[in-house]
Symmetry: C2
Subunit: 317 residues, 2 copies
DNA sequence: ATGAAAGCGCTAACAA
DNA sequence: TTGTTAGCGCTTTCAT
């Protein structure tokens, strides 16, 4: 017990004793076994986090901010990737729950029924992010992807453009991408405009290459298109590059908008009009909420809406 | 014991009994406690992985490939970020070791003395990646950053360019970035060229914004520069964008090269000449090596050199 | 195919 | 300030 105390900062041990213990530990190369510690104290200090892909700057920002907010409390993130696949998410969450995390943060508000049940039965706080589901499992910190794109459509329409296309993925794997497309269609119909210029650019998540190919295709089949709204800045940048290769001037001949406020869109020439969903803010708020809950016990389910900001740049006129 | 067996696929339990157990488990919302399981069996099925930053597509690719290679064996990655800081790495590795991972994969071959000691004393395989240290701790899968950049200098010089600059970070936080700058200087001196056009663009990791600012500065102070080699494709893209804003033609007036083969460099116009260090290959090979070791027990220390490929594109003439 | 006993390495609770 | 006891929830081992 004295050793156990000596190794835990802030517990009452004679300083000489502690010094002797620490030096012995150093000499022996002793490393505390937190597996045993977790079992006994029923505290793992894990927070399970799932994101669709590790290779996405937006989700990386959320996880980075979450990590910073949790580090001070000694909480370690246990990260998993669903590969935009709800079945994979189910497998992953089952695995993660076995590790007895003290909280769970998932991306998105759509899950398999079994995933939902597992999360509902989990005795720890659950936070859904990057979405605003109608019937949350527990806590939510997110925004409406559909509504955000509607704001973008409104902006483009306000500039007098009417022949507007949407570039996105071709399946429903990426539910947030799907919501964005739905928002596009809804807004176009609200304006009484043709909402059928939908380019399906391949299996989500689509990136720069797919955006470039989609733009090439669009300019071939619908050369009178005046504006393109893309499911992300990455595909928007690809679309912009395709225009540059063809000599189509942006925004003079065609406007391009993206989503996500990725760095590339702020640097490229012309810079890309986008929507900033504040990924770091999502992570920060999730960390704050978890710290509150872990301090004060469970609260009522929290629903925090992030308001995505329209960022108008050079690629739209 | 029967319950324990029933929940573990491939063990001998009467199928009726197993069915009853599984349905009871489902009904109760029972979740196996892998903390207890790990303590008893002394197998956590964790692999600890450290990378400098979560928000970097190269490291993300390595981790993604590693994850895929380990998933089949039920190994879960325990990921930590050092923020390009060796002190932070030390804290992180100490934390991770307490979780009793079955292997450790770190980025880079330079560590604090204490980190080195901890890793040497760890009784599990250690793999250093993304580097080729002279005195590895245990296993290594990586490449020489300095040598890779030398190849790039050779290429640029072979095109008849002599006034060549390097854009990188301004401190030694990013040791791979530092190695790249060293490689630049060594190669320039080998060619008998002036190696003093070194632009320090801010604290590493530098990204697109810093690359753009550095290029602006360079074109102001050394307008006769013929080529710029950047520490990464991200800063190279920033540099390219700065040129486009100023109307400096690339590659006619100035050549630009990067490092890392990020997607942006393959899509932008002009596309960016780069070096591809095959980040996924590093992750795949690390996974293979770990699987071998976990099957067959410890081997001699392995040293696998990845040969980075020069990818010549439009931004250099 | 199932069960009984023991113990993995810690720490909560209580005692001195 | 230090020590004793017990037990966290599993799985290894051996027995039936």
């Amino acid at each position: 017990m004295t050793v156990s105390r000596a190794l835990k900062p802030g517990s009452l041990v004679n300083e000489q004793t502690r010094a002797r213990i620490l030096s012995a530990a150093e000499e022996l190369g002793y490393v505390l076994d937190s597996t045993a510690s977790s079992l006994r104290s029923q505290k793992t200090d894990f927070v399970a986090v799932t994101i669709p892909s590790i290779n996405n700057a937006n989700f990386a920002d959320t996880v980075g901010a979450l990590n910073e907010g949790l580090k001070a409390r000694g909480l370690q993130i246990l990260l998993g990737y669903t590969n935009y696949d709800m079945q994979e998410e189910e497998r992953l969450i089952e695995q993660l729950l076995r590790r007895k995390p003290q909280a769970i943060v998932v991306t998105g508000g759509k899950h398999t029924p079994r995933t939902r049940r597992m999360l509902e039965n989990a005795t720890v706080p659950v936070i859904e992010t990057w979405d605003l589901p109608d019937t949350p499992i527990n806590h939510v910190i997110g925004f409406s992807n559909a509504q955000a794109v509607q704001a973008m459509v409104d902006h483009v329409v306000s500039k007098g453009l009417t022949r507007i296309a949407f570039i996105g993925g071709d399946t429903d794997r990426d539910t947030r991408g799907l919501d964005r497309r739905r928002g596009f269609v809804a807004a176009m119909e609200r304006h009484g405009l043709d909402a059928t210029r939908l380019v399906a650019a391949g299996p989500p998540p689509i990136s720069m290459r797919e955006g470039a190919d989609a733009m090439d295709h669009l300019l071939d089949t619908d050369p009178d298109t005046e504006a393109v709204i893309c499911v992300s800045d990455l595909s928007a940048f690809g679309a912009l590059s395709a225009c540059q290769r063809r000599g189509t001037r942006v925004p003079e001949e065609i406007s391009i908008a993206g989503f996500g406020n990725y760095e590339v869109g702020s640097i490229c020439v012309p810079s890309i009009t986008t929507i900033d969903p504040s990924p770091r803010k999502i992570g920060q708020q999730a960390a704050e909420l978890l710290c509150e809950i872990l301090d004060q016990g469970a609260l009522f389910p929290v629903r925090r809406e992030i308001i995505p900001q329209l960022v108008i740049r050079e690629s739209t006129r």
